[in-house]
Every structure is written in structure tokens, then in C-alpha cells.
Amino acid sequence: MSKIKAENVNVYYGSKQALFDVSIDIAEKEVTALIGPSGCGKSTFLRCLNRMNDVIEICRVEGSIKMDNLELNSRKLDVVRLRENVGMVFQKPNPFPKTIYENVAYGPTIHGIAQSKEEMDQIVETSLKKAALWNEVKDRLDEIATGLSGGQQQRLCIARAISVSPEVILMDEPCSALDPIATAQIEELIDDLKKEVTIVIVTHSMSQAARVSQKTGFFHLGKLIEFGPTDKIFKNPDNQQTQDYITGRFG
């Protein structure tokens, strides 16, 4: 079932066009990987899905992006609501310089989700458990989050993202700043999460895309070159450029 349907999306930074007529169907409760060389527009596309491009003054998005028949690329859209539904994990772990507890409680607080202290404790615990971090931090929830290791910080950011029970989580190269062990932990986590959430992940690592995703899209120079089941993309792509990229001939 399609969760997000993008049609003819064009993105401009000032006068420079970054995305050209991207159309893509993102299936519900699956992991969709976006791959491609640096500067190909995959992160730009990802940021259209939770309107993070709004933060950039000169950025302009055209086309239609529908999530469950709700038009995302519309002036009337309630961005706060959208971002509650579409969480995001960034390339570099970015926990707030607050305690571990406060980091996870941030989203539920600003959206008024928890009615009582007990409920909040419950949300924090569940989120940290889902992010496979609970056992490591349960005794030091009131320590400052920036003291955690890189992998722990990234899992904390995932816990923060899932604390408001989003339907979609966007991940922008979530493992590029982590070591192989932490990367493996995050990939395992992605596998678990997809039972409940739709995940879109941008990655530079083709092996990671092959491991975690069900569908893969290959971007090049702002265009979506090929999109399909991950197996097919990696074993038998239709397009020569995809073939070249997969086999490491460029990019």
C-alpha cells in the first residue's frame, strides 16, 4: 500500500534546480532506500517529505507530494502536525544539550501528548526500549545526553523521533558518522521499526541499502533514474547508469 506518493517534484535553490520531475511511491511499513552520488538530490527529496526545506530561505518546491491523500506541498498544511507524523533522524547525531530523559520527552511535551508524569515516564521508557537504548541508559536518565557515545547518541535521536509515534521516519545517512558496530545496531533497529513505521533512508553505503531496504531509488544529478525492489536494483537493474553506480564504476 502506498503511504507517500510524490508526483513531478521539482526543487529549486534560488535559480539552481536541484530536483527534476521526481515521481515516487513509498510503500507503507517498508524501508525505502535512496542512493546516489553526493549532491544528487536524495537528501533534498527527503527533506520535502517533512517540509524541512522551509528552513532554507531560498528553497522552492513544486509538484505534488501526497501522504494518505493529504497534500504536503501546500501553504495550508499544518507543518507542526506533519512533523509530528513524520519524524527525522539526521546524519550527525544531534541530541539537545539536555538530559537523556528531556531529549526523549521533548516531542511529547511540545505536542502535549502525555497527560501526567507517569505517562511521560512510560513514553520515555517505551521509546528508549524501541530504540534499543533502555538497558544502557536506564540508570542515568538525568545525565546530559551529549556525554553518550556517537552510536548511543544516534539511537537516542531515534528514540526522540519515535517518542511521538510517527507514521513515517526519515533517516538522512544515519550511520555515516558511526563505527561499524554502532552501524550494525542501527540497522537492526531499522529492521525492527519497520513493523510499525514507514522508513525512508538516504544512504551512501550500497551494502547498507541492500541490507535494510525493500525498495531502492537511485538518484543522479537531481533525477530519479530508477526505482524498484531492492533485489532487482542490485542484481538486475534496467538502467545502465544504475548498473554502473552499483558496480562502483562511478560515484
Binding site: 530561505e57 539536555k98 511521538v164
Partner: protein
């Protein structure tokens, strides 16, 4: 004579630079250079300038005292005090240059002639010695250049020493100032008990003025209580911060988070212009505009308002400090990493929630640091207080009355005639050193807070 000599040394230095470089180019044709040609020039120039200038400076420093010793040798058998000898020497010097108007005794005349003679000898000796040094050092350096010795290291070492001497000078001057403050303050505390100074509540140094002889110790006891001054200083600084912190902080947040690029481009320099207005201008603005305005409003409300009120001075001082806080807090807020903002926005936080819950707490240590720096600025501010809040050291917490500060009292003590060695004059040094300690502490705390904040993101 000195001017000609220094000009000559400088010209010779430039010449030797070009000469050294040219020589390097000649050497280059036959063998490999040890450094770039310009290093040969620097080497020669350094050897030309440094020894000659060092000797010149040392000579200029020591020559007068040596000449003085020679002149005063003739007076040693007369049992004169130090002050009398100094007076004689001044007379001799004046006579020698023809500006003396008193009685010319034979003895003085003789000394003046001797003085002129000594000066002449000293001058020719100086020229001769410096020329000799120039020749010696230049020929030494030139031989090195000719032998194509290593040039880069000596030049680097020379530069290191130049930089070292410059910083040493700065440090020594600072230490000198602190010690002169300290010694005078100690002399003051010999006359006035340190306890009376720190805890006394009555400041009225004019009371101790007596025409002859020593002032009455009982008077001294009650005249130098610094509590009203410290209270006034912090009171006015407090009023200033009440004005400056909210406006400065809010405008800093606006500039860094809300203002578009266009607004920021013009608003920030305009706010910083406020920091460039001379404090004396703020002072008469406070005294002539704000003070009467406050008085008028107060009177209309049926309040007793002095024309020179702490409120007027504090408010204007606050305006002066606004750019300090707004500019510094703008800087620390801008330094909060963008990915924290992204993280907050991606959670669905609005701009004001992001500012309040993420950015402000993250920037808080830096903001506290900037506020402490602003406080130390307010505590040290003089002109506005002198002009707008009066000079009477009242111990009050009524912002509508006039009060005075440490800095303003130092001005009062030191303008006009004063007698050195008088406790009244020396009290300025005691006030100065206490002010110095207060601002030093504030700065140290502020800098360590700011430093801690920087470490957090690095």
C-alpha cells in the same frame, strides 16, 4: 641629533635589506641558496637595525642619570637632602639651556658649563659607538651572507624575540600599573584602617583637609567609609542591567533567529553604532535630557525627584550597554549548531519553542558570560555617573535620589589641586584597586563561563 641618528639607522636598514637580497641573487647563480632571497635581506636588515637600536635605547635611558651623577658629585660635601640636590640639578639644566631666571651663582654657572660639556661628550660618544656597532654588525652579517650560511633560522629566531619583547613590554606595563596602585593603596591603609574603609558607611574625604600638620585621626576614621560608593556603584549598575538585559537579549534573539538577512545586515551595524558613541555624549544626554525628564514625570506623580537621579544615570548607562549584550548574545546564539535547530524543527517544534527550549538553554552560558562582561563595563563606567548622578556619596536605595560611584569619586578626588601623600589623594588609589579587583573577578568568571560553553561543542 637623535632624530638624524635614528633616521640614518632606519635608512641603512632598508638599504641593507635590498643589498642582502641582491647578494642572494648573485649567490644563486653559482650555488644553491639556503632560503628565499628575501631572508638574506631580512637577515642583513635585522643585524643592521637591532644592535644599533638596542644600544641607542639603552644609551638614551642611562645617559641622563649618569650625567646627573657627575654634576652632583661636586655637591656631595655640602650635606644636602635628596630634594635639594634634585632642585639644584633642575636649576643647572635650566641654566644650561638658557631658561633659568633665578640668581646665578658661580657654583651654578660652573655646573652648567660642566653639564653642557658632558652632554657634548656624551653625544659624540653615542654617535661614534653606534656607527662602530653598525659597521661591526653589518660586516659580521655580510660575511655570513657571503658564506651562504643558513638564513631562515636566525631570521625566525629574531622575529620570535621581537614578538617576545613586545609582549613582555605589555605585561610589564600592566604589572607596573597594578603595583603602583597597590603601593599607594598600602600607604593609604597606613593612615586609614582597612576595616574603616571596607565597612564604614560615611564617605566624606574633604572633611580631612587641614592646612598644616596632620589631620585628626578621629576625623579620618569616619571620612573614608567606602560602603556608600560600593552600594552606589552596584545600584546604578543594577539599574543599567535592568534596562540592558531585557532589551539587549531580546534584540539579540531577534537578530540571530528571526530577522531576515536584509534586516540583519542593517540592524546589527546600527545597534553597534550605539557602542561607538563616546560616553561623555551619553553623559550629557543623561544630565540634560533624561534627568530633567525623569524629574518632571516624578514631580507630576507627586514624587520627590532629584535632578541628578540614580535612575537617569542607570537608564542611560543601560542604553549604552545594550549593544554589548545584544551583539554578544547574537554571536553566541548564532554559534549554536544548526543541527540542534533542525532536530527541534523536525520534532514539530515552532520557532519560539525551539528558541525557548533548545537554543536559549544551549546558549545560556555564553549569554551569562556576555552579561557579566557588561556588568564589569557598567561598574567601571565613569562619565555618565559624574554628569548625571551627582557626586554626593549618599547611601540610598531610592533610585530617584542622587548617589555616587567609585569611579565618580575618583574623579572628584583627583580633579583640581591635590597634595600628593595626602590620605584624600591616596584614597583614590584604594578605590582604584578595589574597583580593579571587582572588575577583574567579574571578567575572570565571565571568561571561564564562556570558555566552558565553547568546550561543549568542540
Amino acid at each position: 641629533m637623535n632624530l638624524i641618528l635614528v633616521t640614518f639607522i632606519i635608512l641603512l636598514t632598508f638599504t641593507s635589506y635590498y643589498f642582502g637580497r641582491k647578494k642572494a641573487l648573485v649567490i644563486q647563480s653559482s650555488q644553491r641558496l639556503t632560503a628565499l632571497p628575501k631572508f638574506y635581506g631580512y637577515y642583513l636588515a635585522a643585524w643592521c637595525a637591532a644592535p644599533a637600536l638596542i644600544i641607542f635605547v639603552l644609551w638614551s635611558v642611562f645617559e641622563p642619570s649618569i650625567v646627573k651623577t657627575f654634576i652632583l658629585q661636586d655637591y656631595t660635601d655640602q650635606n644636602l637632602t635628596k630634594n635639594e640636590l634634585q632642585l639644584i640639578y633642575t636649576k643647572v639644566k635650566a641654566l644650561a639651556v638658557g631658561t633659568y631666571t633665578g640668581n646665578i651663582t658661580n657654583f651654578l654657572d660652573e655646573s652648567a658649563n660642566k653639564y653642557i660639556q658632558l652632554k657634548g661628550i656624551a653625544n659624540s660618544a653615542k654617535v661614534a659607538i653606534i656607527l662602530a656597532i653598525l659597521i661591526f654588525s653589518l660586516s659580521f652579517a655580510y660575511r655570513s651572507v657571503q658564506k651562504n650560511d643558513r638564513m631562515r633560522e636566525p631570521v625566525e629566531i629574531f622575529l620570535k624575540w621581537v614578538l617576545f619583547v613586545a609582549s613582555l613590554g605589555a605585561v610589564l606595563v600592566t604589572i607596573g600599573i597594578v603595583f603602583s596602585l597597590l603601593f599607594e593603596a598600602i600607604r593609604f591603609f597606613q593612615a586609614v584602617k582597612i576595616f574603616d574603609f571596607i565597612f564604614g558607611t560615611h564617605w566624606y574625604p574633604a572633611k580631612t583637609f587641614v592646612r598644616d600638620g596632620q589631620p585628626d585621626p578621629e576625623l579620618m576614621k569616619d571620612a573614608f567609609g567606602a560602603v556608600p560608593l560600593f552600594a552606589g556603584t552596584f545600584f546604578i549598575a543594577f539599574i543599567a542591567m535592568c534596562v540592558a538585559i531585557p532589551i539587549g537579549l531580546l534584540s539579540g534573539i531577534y537578530l540571530s533567529e528571526y530577522a531576515g538577512r536584509g534586516v540583519r545586515k542593517y540592524a546589527k551595524p546600527i545597534i553597534e553604532i550605539l557602542a561607538g558613541i563616546p560616553t561623555v555624549v551619553y553623559g550629557f544626554f543623561a544630565a540634560l535630557t533624561v534627568g530633567p525628564f525623569v524629574k518632571e514625570i516624578g514631580n507630576a506623580m507627586g514624587l520627590e525627584v532629584s535632578a541628578e537621579s540614580a535612575l537617569a544615570a542607570g537608564a542611560v548607562m543601560g542604553v549604552m550597554i545594550i549593544p554589548f549584550i545584544s551583539s554578544l548574545s547574537d554571536d553566541v546564539i548564532t554559534a549554536v549548531p544548526q543541527n540542534l535547530r533542525d532536530g527541534s524543527y523536525a520534532m514539530g517544534a515552532t520557532k519560539s519553542e525551539t528558541v525557548k527550549k533548545v537554543i536559549f538553554p544551549a546558549a545560556l552560558p555564553g549569554i551569562v558570560g556576555s552579561i557579566l562582561l557588561a556588568v564589569s563595563r557598567a561598574v567601571g563606567e565613569t562619565m555618565i555617573v559624574v554628569m548625571a548622578s551627582g557626586l554626593a556619596a549618599n547611601l540610598t536605595i531610592n533610585p530617584l535620589e542622587s548617589t555616587s560611584t567609585i569611579t565618580a569619586q575618583i574623579v572628584v578626588i583627583l580633579i583640581g589641586d591635590q597634595q600628593f601623600g595626602d590620605p584624600k589623594t591616596q584614597s583614590a588609589f584604594a578605590l582604584g584597586i578595589s574597583l580593579f579587583i571587582v572588575t577583574l573577578l567579574l571578567n575572570v568568571i565571565a571568561l571561564s563561563v564562556v570558555k566552558k560553553y565553547r568546550e561543549k561543542y568542540e
